[in-house]
C-alpha cells in the first residue's frame, strides 16, 4: 500500500497548458493552516463506505429491538453483504442529566455500541451487555470491530420527542441549529479494549480503506438515533404520535465531540498520513489534466457548489477563529459561483484553469472547498484511489542500518529543511509540550514555562527531534553506517526511523512546529475529521470540536425499504 508515496513523483506544479500536471509540493500541502482548512471530499472515508453500502449487494435490517418504555434496553442493526455480515449492537440507557458529559472522563452515556463481526447470538448480546455499557472499563473481543458511545443533544432530543408525541414535526430551525439528535464522544477501533486487530481484518474488501468499520458503526448509529426518538415519542404520545418526516430526517446527522486525543494521530501515523494526502494530490492532478468538461460534469460541479453554499449557510460556530474562517469560506464560495458562470470557457484544460484561478484568488478555506468541488464530478477517474489510502505500517517499521550517514544527512536537508531552520533558542518556538495525562491516559498539551511534566514529553516535537539528530550527525564520518551511529546514540533511533520513512513518503510530515506557541491543535483535528467526511466543524476552544457526520445521507433501513418496494 505504500505505492502511492513511492510512485508519485513530485513535480513542480507550474505545468503549462499541455505539460504533465504533477502533485503539489509537500511544503505547499503539508502546512497546518491548509490542513486546518480541509473539507470533506468524495475520497472521505464515510463517502467510500456509503458508496459500497448503497451500490447494491448489501441488505439492512433491525432483528432485535428490546427497548422498554423508558428507552432502556438493546437493539441490533444488521448489514448483510455478499460475503459477510456486520451488526451494530446498541445499548440504550436512561441517563440522569447531571451525568452527561462528552469528555473522556465521563463514565456514563445515553447509549453505547459495539460493531459485531457477524450475526450475534443471544449469548454474544449478553456478553456484550456486561461490557459495552462500561466502555473503557469493560472488555470486548476479537469478534468486535469497534466500541463507541453517544450522548443526546439535550436541546434537540426532547424537542423532537415532544413534537412527535404531540403529532407534529419538530421545528426546522431547531433541527438545523443543532444538526443531530445524538453525538458520539468516542469511537474506538483497531484492537482497542480487546477488539479485533486492524491487521486481521484489513484484507477484507469492505474494510480495506481506512476507518470503514468505524464509519459503518456511526452510520448505523444514526439510524438508532431516529429510531429511539420515534420509540419514545410513541410511548409518550400513544396514538397521536407521528414519525419523523423525510426532510427532517435527512437533515439530521450524527454529532461527534472530539478533544485533543485525536490531534496526535496524524503525527503518529506518518505512512498513513502520506497515503491519505498523496491520494488527494493524485486525484487533483488527474482532474486538472482532463482535456474537457462534459455537460454532466459541469452540472455536477454546479450542484456540488450549491450544496456547499447551503452547507456553509447552515454552518454555525461561536469560536472567533472559526467565525473568521466561515467568513472567508462564504466569500470564496460566492467568488467560485461567479467564476462558474463562465465555466468551462475556452481553456485547453478547463479544470486546471479553474484550479489555477482558485490558487491565485481564494483564501485557504476557499481553495480547500474548491478542491472538494473539483473532484466531486469525477468518480470514474478518481474513486479507485480510495484503495490506496491504507498503509501497512508494520512493513515500514524496520530501519536501514546500512544507510550511510551522508545519505541520512541528505534526507534531513531535503525533507526537513523546514525543521532545521527553526530557532529553538526562542522560547516561543518550544513554548508547549505534548504529554499523556495519568488521569485519563489522554494526550494533552502543556505550557513548558509553567506546567510540570516537560520531562515526560511525548515524541511529537518532530521538528526539534529532526534538528537534534542533524546536529548529532555533524560529528560523524559520512561514510559510516547508520547502525554505528545508533549504537552510540539510542535516543535518536526514533527520529532516524522516521526520517528514513519520510524519504520514501513525501507527505509523511506536517511541516510546522508542533510545539510552537501559536500552534493550533484544531488544525490537525480538522484535517483528520475532513478525511472522515465530517461537516460543520465547530471548535469549542482551540482544543476540542464538534462536528456532524452523515448529514443528508440516506438511512440504512430506508435503503432496505426502497429495495423491497
Amino acid at each position: 500500500m505504500t505505492m502511492v508515496g513511492r510512485n508519485m513523483k513530485r513535480v513542480n506544479q507550474e505545468a503549462g497548458p499541455v505539460g504533465k500536471i504533477g502533485h503539489r509540493k509537500p511544503e505547499v500541502v503539508m502546512r497546518l493552516a491548509r490542513m486546518g482548512s480541509a473539507h470533506p471530499t468524495r475520497l472521505s472515508f464515510l463517502r467510500v463506505m456509503l458508496r459500497r453500502m448503497t451500490s447494491g449487494g448489501w441488505r439492512f435490517d433491525r432483528p432485535v429491538w428490546e427497548i422498554d418504555a423508558k428507552g432502556v434496553g438493546r437493539a441490533v442493526y444488521r448489514a448483510t453483504g455478499p460475503s459477510r455480515t456486520y451488526s451494530l449492537v446498541a445499548f440504550s440507557h436512561d441517563l440522569p442529566d447531571h451525568m452527561r458529559s462528552d469528555r473522556v472522563i465521563a463514565t456514563a452515556w445515553d447509549a453505547t455500541f459495539a460493531l459485531f463481526d457477524g450475526d450475534p447470538a443471544k449469548a454474544d448480546l449478553d456478553r456484550l451487555q456486561g461490557n459495552v455499557p462500561l466502555q473503557e472499563a469493560g472488555r470486548i473481543s476479537a469478534s468486535e470491530l469497534s466500541l463507541s458511545r453517544a450522548n443526546r443533544s439535550v436541546r434537540l432530543f426532547s424537542h423532537v420527542v415532544d413534537s412527535l408525541a404531540a403529532g407534529r414535526q419538530p421545528d426546522i430551525g431547531e433541527v438545523d441549529a443543532v444538526g443531530y439528535l445524538m453525538r458520539t464522544t468516542a469511537v474506538y477501533g483497531s484492537g482497542k479494549f480487546g477488539a479485533a486487530d486492524r491487521r486481521d481484518i484489513a484484507s477484507r474488501a469492505e474494510l480495506a480503506a481506512p476507518f470503514q468499520a468505524e464509519m459503518l458503526s456511526v452510520w448505523l448509529t444514526r439510524q438508532f438515533t431516529v429510531d429511539i426518538v420515534e420509540h419514545l415519542a410513541a410511548v409518550k404520545g400513544g396514538t397521536s404520535a407521528i414519525r419523523l418526516g423525510t426532510d427532517v430526517k435527512r437533515r439530521l446527522g450524527v454529532g461527534n465531540s472530539t478533544g485533543l486525543g485525536m490531534a496526535p494521530f496524524l503525527v503518529r501515523h506518518p505512512a498513513l498520513l502520506n497515503n491519505w494526502m498523496a491520494a488527494r494530490e493524485e486525484a487533483l492532478a488527474r482532474v486538472r489534466a482532463l482535456p474537457e468538461a462534459s455537460l454532466s460534469a459541469v452540472h455536477c460541479l454546479k450542484d456540488a457548489h450549491s450544496a456547499a453554499c447551503e452547507n456553509a449557510a447552515n454552518w454555525r460556530s461561536e469560536h472567533p477563529i472559526q467565525i473568521d474562517k466561515l467568513r472567508d469560506l462564504r466569500g470564496d464560495l460566492a467568488r467560485i459561483g461567479a467564476r462558474l458562470e463562465e465555466f468551462p470557457g475556452a481553456d485547453a484544460r478547463p479544470w486546471n484553469a479553474l484550479w489555477r484561478w482558485g490558487e491565485e484568488t481564494l483564501t485557504l478555506e476557499g481553495q480547500e472547498a474548491l478542491f472538494a468541488l473539483l473532484i466531486e464530478p469525477h468518480g470514474d477517474c478518481i474513486d479507485d484511489l480510495a484503495a490506496l489510502m491504507s498503509a501497512d505500517e508494520a512493513a515500514e517499521f524496520r530501519l536501514d542500518g546500512a544507510m550511510r550517514i551522508a545519505s541520512l544527512r541528505g534526507i534531513l536537508e531535503s525533507q526537513y529543511g523546514w525543521a532545521l531552520s527553526i530557532d529553538f533558542a526562542r522560547p516561543a518556538n518550544q513554548a508547549r509540550f505534548w504529554y499523556v495525562s495519568e488521569e485519563k491516559l489522554e494526550p494533552r498539551l502543556g505550557d513548558r514555562a509553567t506546567d510540570d511534566g516537560a520531562d515526560l514529553e511525548q515524541p511529537l516535537c518532530i521538528a526539534r527531534m529532526a534538528q537534534d539528530l542533524f546536529t548529532a550527525l555533524k560529528e560523524w564520518p559520512g561514510n559510516d553506517p547508520v547502525a554505528a551511529f545508533l549504537l552510540h546514540h539510542p535516543d535518536h533511533r526514533f527520529m532516524v526511523r522516521r526520517a528514513q520513512l519520510a524519504a520514501r513518503h513525501p507527505y509523511a510530515e506536517v511541516q510546522d512546529n508542533l510545539i510552537a506557541e501559536d500552534m493550533l491543535p484544531i488544525d490537525l483535528m480538522r484535517c483528520k475529521l475532513a478525511f472522515f467526511g465530517a461537516s460543520h466543524f465547530d471548535p469549542r476552544s482551540d482544543r476540542w470540536v464538534r462536528i456532524s457526520l452523515f448529514e443528508g445521507a440516506p438511512y440504512p433501513l430506508d435503503l432496505a425499504e426502497e429495495a423491497s418496494s
Binding site: T107, L487, S541
Partner: protein, 239 residues
C-alpha cells in the same frame, strides 16, 4: 486503564466480582502497553517501539512476550544504555560490563548491522551474550532471516532451534522461552523450517498486565486543575 464501573449506565449484569485471571488483549494493545512500559523503564522512544514490536510478534505466535519483557525490565530498569548495549567485535558481541545484554537493544542492533561486516551470520557463527530473556530476540532474528532470505539457527547450552523470515520456528521453543539468561550462537542454515501451527495468545495474565501498566504509567503526568481546565473541563458540554 481498568477503571471502576459506573452503575447508572448498566442495562445488563455486573462484571464478575472476582477479577479474571487473564485479560483479553489484542496485538495492538500488547504492542502499545509494552512500548509504554519499556519507555517507563527507561528505554529510548525508538527502543520502546522495538519492544512493542517484539512482544506483539511473540504474542501473535502464542509466546508470552509481555511476561518476558516484564521480568527483564523489572531486573534492569534504570540501567544506562552503555551497560546493556552490545560491544561489537567480528564474530563476538558481548556486554561491556557484568550485566547481561538487553534483548531489545541487542535485537535492534542485530537488525541494524544485518548485511554489514560486523553483523555477518552467513559465514560462520556470531556468538552473542550473555543476554537477558533471549526469547525477546526471536522477532528481530526473524527480520534478519527475511532480509537474508535464509533460515537462521540459534544454539545455546542445552538446546537449539531454527527459524525463518516468515516467523516459522522449529526446535526446543519451550526450553528457549524459559531461559532467563543465555549466550547464543547465531548462524544461517540451509536447512528449511517446517512451519507448525501457532495460535495467537490474545490474553495476558492479569498480574503481568498490572505490573507492565505500572511501568507504563511512569510515562504519564499527574493531573492538575490547570491541565483539566486546558482539556476542556471548564466548559459545559451538556447541551
Amino acid at each position: 486503564m481498568i477503571a471502576e464501573a459506573n452503575d447508572p449506565t448498566r442495562s445488563g449484569p455486573p462484571l464478575p466480582a472476582t477479577p479474571l485471571e487473564n485479560i483479553g488483549l489484542s496485538r495492538n494493545e500488547v504492542e502499545t502497553l509494552c512500548a509504554k512500559a519499556a519507555r517507563g523503564a527507561g528505554m529510548s522512544w525508538g527502543h520502546a517501539e522495538e519492544a512493542g514490536f517484539a512482544t506483539g510478534w511473540l504474542s501473535a505466535r502464542g509466546l508470552d512476550g509481555p511476561e518476558a519483557l516484564l521480568t527483564h525490565i523489572e531486573k534492569t530498569h534504570g540501567k544506562a544504555w552503555g551497560d546493556v548495549c552490545p560491544v561489537i567485535e567480528k564474530g563476538r558481541w558481548r556486554p561491556s560490563a557484568a550485566d547481561p545484554l538487553c534483548p531489545i537493544a541487542l535485537g535492534a542492533t542485530l537488525n541494524d548491522f544485518c548485511g554489514l561486516d560486523d553483523g555477518r551470520l552467513e559465514d560462520g557463527a556470531l556468538t552473542v551474550g550473555p543476554i537477558s530473556h533471549p526469547l525477546l530476540v526471536l522477532p528481530f532474528l526473524s527480520h534478519v532471516a527475511a532480509r537474508l532470505k535464509r533460515s537462521i539457527a540459534v544454539g545455546w547450552q542445552g538446546g537449539s532451534l531454527r527459524m525463518d523470515g516468515e516467523g516459522a520456528m522449529t526446535g526446543d521453543l519451550t526450553g528457549f522461552a524459559a531461559l532467563q539468561e543465555a549466550t547464543l550462537d547465531l548462524s544461517t542454515t540451509a536447512e528449511s523450517v517446517r512451519p507448525r501451527p501457532q495460535k495467537a495468545m490474545r490474553t495476558c495474565k492479569r498480574e503481568t498486565f498490572l505490573r507492565l501498566n505500572d511501568f507504563a504509567m511512569k510515562t504519564t503526568v499527574p493531573p492538575s486543575d490547570k491541565s483539566r481546565t486546558d482539556a476542556g473541563s471548564g466548559t459545559s458540554d451538556n447541551d
